[in-house]
């Protein structure tokens, strides 16, 4: 029995070592996928709000609120594991993340904070009518754009 426990502990520490080694390797494809998926999730929820704002979908207070609150939740996620050192454009494949994300961490987190503020404002008005979404979309566009202007490499 002892040997089984020992083997279990050993295999656990082996796993821990393997994942540590993985984190230290230059393969950042997982983190890059994670941050791109996060952007897609913003897009999915913005798509619902945008379609209502543009009149392409009938206004639905509940759907608007759900989408806006999802944006708040997404914007509030601690993203520290999405941005490992060495995963900037030019260092890793398949990413447009600018090196400025790492050289200007204060500016980058201020940009993320601005998005959370815009999303929170959107959530407060999204359920009140289509005008509440339209005003919020402008602010969301501004927050998304400000970050893409300074921290994303041109295509």
């Amino acid at each position: 029995m002892m040997s089984i426990t020992k083997a279990f502990v050993l295999s656990l520490s082996g796993l821990a070592f393997a994942s540590l080694a993985h984190a230290q390797s230059a393969d950042h494809s997982g983190a890059i996928k994670a941050r791109q998926a996060h952007m897609t999730l913003y897009g999915t929820n913005l798509g619902v709000l945008g379609a209502m704002a543009q009149g392409n979908m009938p206004y639905d207070a509940e759907a608007a609120t759900v989408a806006a609150e999802s944006l708040v939740a997404l914007a509030g996620i601690d993203q520290r594991f999405y941005w490992p050192e060495g995963s900037a454009s030019g260092m890793a494949e398949g990413t447009r993340s600018m090196e400025a994300i790492w050289t200007d961490p204060e500016g980058f987190s201020a940009a993320q904070e601005a998005l959370l503020i815009a999303a929170t404002a959107m959530a407060a008005t999204a359920g009140t009518g289509v005008e509440g979404i339209q005003a919020g979309m402008q602010a969301m566009g501004g927050a998304c754009g400000a970050c893409h202007q300074n921290y994303r490499v041109r295509q």
């Binding site: 952007m39 913003y42 897009g43 999915t44 913005l46 798509g47 945008g50 543009q54 979309m137 402008q138 566009g141 501004g142 998304c144 754009g145 400000a146 893409h148 202007q149 994303r152 490499v153 041109r154 295509q155």
Partner: protein
């Protein structure tokens, strides 16, 4: 005729020819401001000038780096624009009498904006898109000037450009203008009044082609590749093809992008386009639709062959 007299004659003749050519070149490439009566009878309307200012994107270059978006724009200058020719510095065009344009006459300002000629009679570099503004209606320029005079003064002095040696001589810009400055519309026959309005907003005011159209070896726009996309002026990457050969968005989707910055997939603009959308979001829905309709009517161009 003795040989020495003959060679003196040839030499004299050659000097005359060279002087004549130089004189002709000087005449053809001299800085030519607008005619003295170009603005006669026109009275500026600052309210329309604010629309022209937004449509022309003046604030994107002439506000200070990192300037606030709220309130009246302070056109203090100071933004830098790296290029293949060196770094251009946007000047102060605020209403300050010393550092800005406060003492310039309307005609001096209009000549700067539409002819690329300074009050001192020097050529401006075409980083300032006067080749586009040359197509603008004189009334709109007078309105724009009236609006500029209402904006706050700022005393920050303009900084000189930092250009590579061969490009420091402004006299050669006269030749550049002769070759590439044209007030001919790229789209000669707009199919509707809406496309015609869009043509005015894009070709004369918005100067979209400055980034979205590739340039030849001398920096002139390739009009046969109009809006077909181009390498970025500075930094890596490309400015996208916005003809229907490269962009599959509907007219409504382009208009929405110019309003909110969101693409149909709810990605957003990046790079310099973020600044552009701060201008286009101030336009009317009708004007944004006109721009989109103009782009939709352009000949579809594929990627560079």
């Amino acid at each position: 005729m003795p040989p020495n007299r003959k060679s003196v004659m040839i030499l004299r003749l050659a000097i005359v020819v060279v002087l004549a050519l130089a004189g002709g070149a000087w005449f053809l490439t001299r800085p030519a401001p607008l005619a003295a009566d170009a603005l006669d009878g026109l009275i500026g309307d600052a309210a329309n000038g604010a629309v022209i200012f937004a449509a022309s994107g003046c604030a994107s270059c002439h506000t200070a780096p990192g300037a606030e978006d709220e309130g009246l724009p302070v056109l203090a200058g100071g933004r830098t624009f790296a290029s293949d020719y060196g770094t251009f510095m946007a000047p102060n065009i605020s209403s300050d009498p010393e550092a800005g344009i406060g003492r310039w006459t309307d005609l001096e300002l209009a000549s700067a904006i539409q002819s690329g000629v300074s009050p001192e009679g020097a050529h401006y570099y075409p980083a300032f898109p006067y080749t586009a503004y040359a197509k603008a209606a004189p009334q709109d320029i007078v309105d724009l000037i009236a609006y500029l005079r209402t904006l706050p003064a700022d005393a920050s002095p303009s900084l000189p450009h930092d250009l590579d040696l061969p490009f420091r001589f402004r006299a050669s810009l006269g030749g550049w203008k002769l070759l590439f400055a044209s007030t001919d519309w790229v789209v000669p026959d707009p199919v509707s009044p809406e496309v015609e309005r869009g043509r005015y907003l894009v070709e004369a005011l918005g100067h979209c082609a400055e980034c979205h159209t590739p340039r030849n070896a001398l920096g002139g726009l390739q009009r046969d590749r109009w809006m077909a996309g181009a390498p970025a002026a500075s930094g890596p990457g490309r400015v996208p093809n916005i003809t229907t050969g490269g962009l599959s968005w509907s007219v409504d989707e382009v208009a929405e992008y110019l309003k909110s910055g969101f693409t149909p997939e709810f990605d957003t603009a990046g790079g310099e386009m973020v600044e552009v959308i701060k201008n286009t979001r101030q336009l009317s829905d009708a004007d944004r639709l006109a721009i989109a309709s103009y782009l939709a009517a352009l000949p579809p161009l594929g990627p560079d062959s």
